[in-house]
């Protein structure tokens, strides 16, 4: 169990790290001499051999051998729970492999804790960031590696260093801003800066694009390209094959803890990758019949909602959703979609306007009352809203149903037998892995956590289903599954309101599409009228009239 070499690094490596630090701590550019361009292009900077890691009940990594070449962008893909995060956490020293070895720059290393990884020149950006909200960007970047003079932190120098670093790689961010005030996309840049400031030569990005808008993703790719040009090696975890094809040099696929294979990106394609990931052919488009919409199930009229800061976020929105149809809401995130959805589901009180369910007003009712009338809601942030991470899978599966029979008996007491049975049923039919209702949900992979949310909300047999980013962070197999389930709900006569930043998702599921911009619905299109260009144009505030004209003048996509 207790091994002695826990955090041992060879003397040579330690010296190297020291030299590197001394050379250039506060400077932006990495000293060139360390990038010996003469070296062969296919040298592996990081080499994993026979890595195995078990958790109680699962083999998260099963004998994985993988080489990461210097200077490449190496995509790592695989289904939810296939072991991507675990593998990279081992490299970063957060977990310890049961067996297997890691070499860095040709020499075997023992990475017992992140500090060692950082000293070696590894950096990792997690999906859930770890910044100190109350500190500024610059303070966060230099944390634990502060430039100082006479024992005092030299804040000016820190700001300068951070700014230089940011300019060098095109990471736009205000070094003096407080982290609490910046957007998620910017937070991610701060995390990247943090790694670069510590001279990371290998940068691991765990699902960086899951939280980004398409525009921000575009910018991130630009940064990644800059980094590659300047010699940084990047391991890039993602679920989106499109992104793999767009940015990576090579791609490795994991499935159920095993490495399925590594391909040169140029020599592979969507189909092959999807199949390698899931182990079968994947429907890349949802199969669905045209909708047969019936009467209106839910509608909003003249809705006005203010956001948390008291600014108008939803401005005079009117919409209706009919039984048996999917109404998609397309829009760049932050244009009032979340406030709209929270007003419908009772989490915020609208300032003005009506929310009607079967013609009866429900605005201002408590979330519980609204749920009980047949509204299900998949929230966009499963960690903030959808799940109680410290609860078991079973207990999360009854959130919102917990005070109703059969989960309560004699008015007060939990009926644990029913709760278990309910969980066992849903875990089985939604293929939650591992299929253990007692497992604390925090230890499930992100995708499996999402499946729990979806399973719970669908199991209520809703009349009206509100889905906000329902497939964020999910693998293609799971996305396919959830898309089919949404369509199945629709075909059973549920009205579905779908909010997604993913245009593909909107286009493949919706029957009608409302475009939201700056708190207003600027256009409602039928699926036949909609395509990516036109939606994109409207989402950015384009003139609806003109959008029609452009369409006529021949848009070729689709």
């Amino acid at each position: 169990m207790r091994r002695v070499e826990k955090t041992r690094v060879t003397a040579l490596q330690r010296r190297e790290a020291r030299v590197r630090r001394r050379c250039s701590r506060p400077q932006a550019a990495r000293p060139k001499h360390l990038h010996t361009f003469g070296e062969s292009a296919v040298e592996n900077i990081l080499e994993l051999s026979h890595i195995t890691k078990r958790f109680p009940g699962v083999i998260a990594n099963d004998d994985i051998s993988l080489g990461i070449r210097r200077g490449e962008i190496h995509a790592l893909v695989g289904e939810n729970g296939s072991g991507k995060s675990t593998l990279m956490s081992i490299v970063y020293g957060l977990y310890r492999a049961d067996t297997g070895e890691i070499s860095f720059k040709g020499a075997p290393v023992q990475i017992g804790e992140p500090r060692t990884a950082i000293e070696l020149g590894l950096g990792m950006v997690f999906q859930h960031f770890m910044l100190v909200d109350t500190l500024t960007v610059a303070e966060n970047v230099i944390l634990h590696a502060e430039p100082h003079s006479w024992g005092f932190v030299d804040y000016k120098r820190a700001v300068k260093a951070v700014e230089e670093l940011a300019t060098a790689y095109g990471l736009r961010v205000d070094a003096r801003a407080r982290v609490a005030d910046i957007s998620v996309g910017q937070e991610q840049r701060v995390e990247i800066l943090k790694a670069l400031y510590r001279q990371a030569e290998v940068l691991i990005l765990d699902e960086p694009t899951a939280v980004l808008t398409p525009q921000e993703t575009e910018e991130l790719f630009q940064v990644m390209n800059n980094l590659r040009e300047q010699g940084t090696t990047i391991v890039f975890i993602t679920h989106k094959i499109k992104e793999v094809l767009a940015i990576s040099d090579r791609v490795s696929v994991l499935r159920r803890g095993k490495l399925v294979g590594t391909r040169n990106t140029a020599e592979t394609g969507q189909r092959e990758l999807a199949e390698m990931m899931v182990g079968r052919e994947v429907l890349l488009r949802v199969k669905k019949e045209p909708a047969k919409p019936a009467e209106t199930v839910a509608s909003v009229a003249g809705l006005q909602v203010r956001d948390r800061r008291g600014m108008p976020a939803v401005k005079d929105v009117s919409l209706e959703v009919r039984r048996g149809e999917v109404l998609g809401i397309a829009g760049v995130e932050g244009n009032g979609q979340q406030e709209l959805v929270e007003a419908i589901t009772g989490l915020t009180a609208p300032e003005e306007g009506l929310v009607l369910l079967h013609g009866k007003p429900i605005q201002g009712l408590s979330p519980m009352k609204i749920k009980r009338r047949g509204v299900s809601y998949i929230p966009e942030d499963r960690h903030k809203r959808g799940l109680i991470l410290e609860y078991s899978v079973a207990d999360n599966l009854i959130l919102g149903l917990h005070s109703d029979p059969p989960f309560v008996e004699r008015y007060l007491f939990r009926n644990d037998r029913q709760i278990k049975a309910h969980a066992a049923r849903l875990v089985e039919s939604y293929d939650v892995r591992p299929p253990n209702p007692d497992q604390i949900i925090r230890t499930l992979s992100g995708g499996n956590q999402q499946k729990v949310v979806v399973a719970r909300e669908f199991s209520r047999d809703p009349e009206f289903l509100v889905c906000s980013q329902p497939t964020r962070g999910l693998d293609i197999g799971a996305i396919e599954f959830i898309h089919q389930e949404i369509i199945r709900q629709r075909d059973q006569g549920t009205g579905v309101l779908l909010v997604s930043a993913e245009l593909d998702e909107i286009l493949s599921l919706s029957d009608r599409i409302a475009v939201m911009f700056d708190g207003r619905i600027v256009a409602v299109l039928t699926i036949e009228e909609a395509d990516e260009q036109r939606l994109g144009y409207l989402m950015l505030g384009g003139d609806p009239q003109q959008a029609t004209g452009e369409l006529e003048s021949g848009v070729t996509a689709k």
Partner: protein, 347 residues
């Protein structure tokens, strides 16, 4: 390393036990400074607190009020609330129990005793409800208000016990409660009384509420993640108030037990910081009812044994205070470490 992922239960025990051991080691240094052999001192400490049935009874008697305050604090913690007002809650509970106890002399025991106990609990519950409501409705931090309520409780009981309910004797105390309202002694000559039975019942009830009822599900959900609780149709405000009321009611039983079982009357400022000790007990007991029991017994033992150590060796009883403080520091340091690790969650 591996500990980080290993099962929660062993980890949960490891930290409190480790803290106690470390604290005793640090204490040993002070014993040496006092010029005594640590082994001798600790032997006295142990023998005097657990060495005989009688010393065990004394230890349990000392532990009884701490179980109540510890449970109360732990309960609020489970809802994410830091109740440092147990001291005030036990004072109002005690004075109400005393007032009921010195009145209604003609009631039968089956009515009088439950009435005194329930009255004390109600007072403690109401006392804690005030900061609960202020927190739920206005967002005022409960730490500030529970402290303030402590001072109100001190002066209110000062007034009652020196004014309207001042007993026949000169001292600032009420009359003796009627025997029909007393928690009877169950192991003479110690002052162990049937309050310990009440404490065990309270442990069971708190356990059941937290893990076997929908109320507990809601309260813990609010404690873990208010955003998700709200989403799940759980009223955050209502559960915060409820948690404070239950917390205060349980904590006030410490005062009730002291009045009806130990002193037999309300004595002005009788509590040796039982409410504040409850915070330490909850912390060491990991906010778990069973953990609270063992933590309270440990603290009870330290006080029992400490007095004896003071008498029988050269070590002053203040050593106990040092050990208690050390235990709290080590447990709290672990909270810090645990939080640091929780931050770096997985994707």
């Amino acid at each position: 390393m591996e500990l980080r992922q290993s099962s929660l239960s062993s980890r949960n025990l490891l930290v409190p036990l480790g803290s106690v051991v470390l604290a005793l080691l640090v204490g040993a240094v002070f014993v040496l400074i006092a010029g005594e052999n640590p082994i001798t001192a600790y032997r006295v400490l142990f023998v005097e607190s657990f060495g005989s049935v009688r010393s065990i009874a004394t230890t349990l008697q000392r532990a009884t009020p701490l179980i109540f305050t510890g449970l109360g604090v732990a309960f609020a913690f489970r809802c994410g609330l830091f109740n440092i007002g147990a001291e005030g809650q036990l004072y109002v509970g005690a004075i109400v129990a005393a007032i009921i106890g010195v009145s209604f002399g003609d009631l039968p025991r089956v009515i009088h005793l439950p009435m005194a106990v329930a009255g004390g609990m109600a007072a403690g519950g109401i006392w804690a409800a005030v900061p609960g409501i202020l927190k739920a409705k206005l967002g005022v931090h409960e730490v500030i208000n529970t402290i303030m309520m402590n001072f109100v409780a001190y002066y209110l009981t000062d007034f009652l016990v020196t004014g309207p309910f001042h007993g026949g004797r000169w001292a600032p105390e009420t009359d003796r409660v009627f025997p029909t309202a007393a928690l009877e002694r169950i192991f003479l000559p110690t002052r162990l009384n049937s309050g310990i039975i009440l404490a065990v019942v309270a442990i069971a009830v708190v356990y059941v509420i937290l893990w076997k009822t929908k109320t507990g599900y809601e309260i813990r959900a609010v404690g873990f993640n208010p955003g998700a609780a709200e989403y799940g149709g759980i009223s955050v405000a209502r559960n915060m108030v409820l948690a404070m009321v239950i917390s205060g009611a349980v904590a006030s039983l410490a005062g009730v037990e002291q009045v009806l079982g130990v002193h037999g009357r309300f004595i002005q400022r009788f509590s040796p910081d039982l409410g504040f000790m409850g915070i330490a007990v909850a912390l060491l007991g990991k906010n778990h009812p069973v953990g609270v029991f063992f933590a309270a017994v440990l603290f009870g033992a330290l006080r029992t044994g400490g007095a004896a150590m003071d008498r029988l060796t050269d070590v002053p009883r203040e050593l106990i205070v040092i050990i208690q403080a050390m235990i709290i520091m080590f447990v709290a340091a672990d909270e810090l470490i645990r939080r640091l690790f929780a931050r770096r969650g997985k994707a």
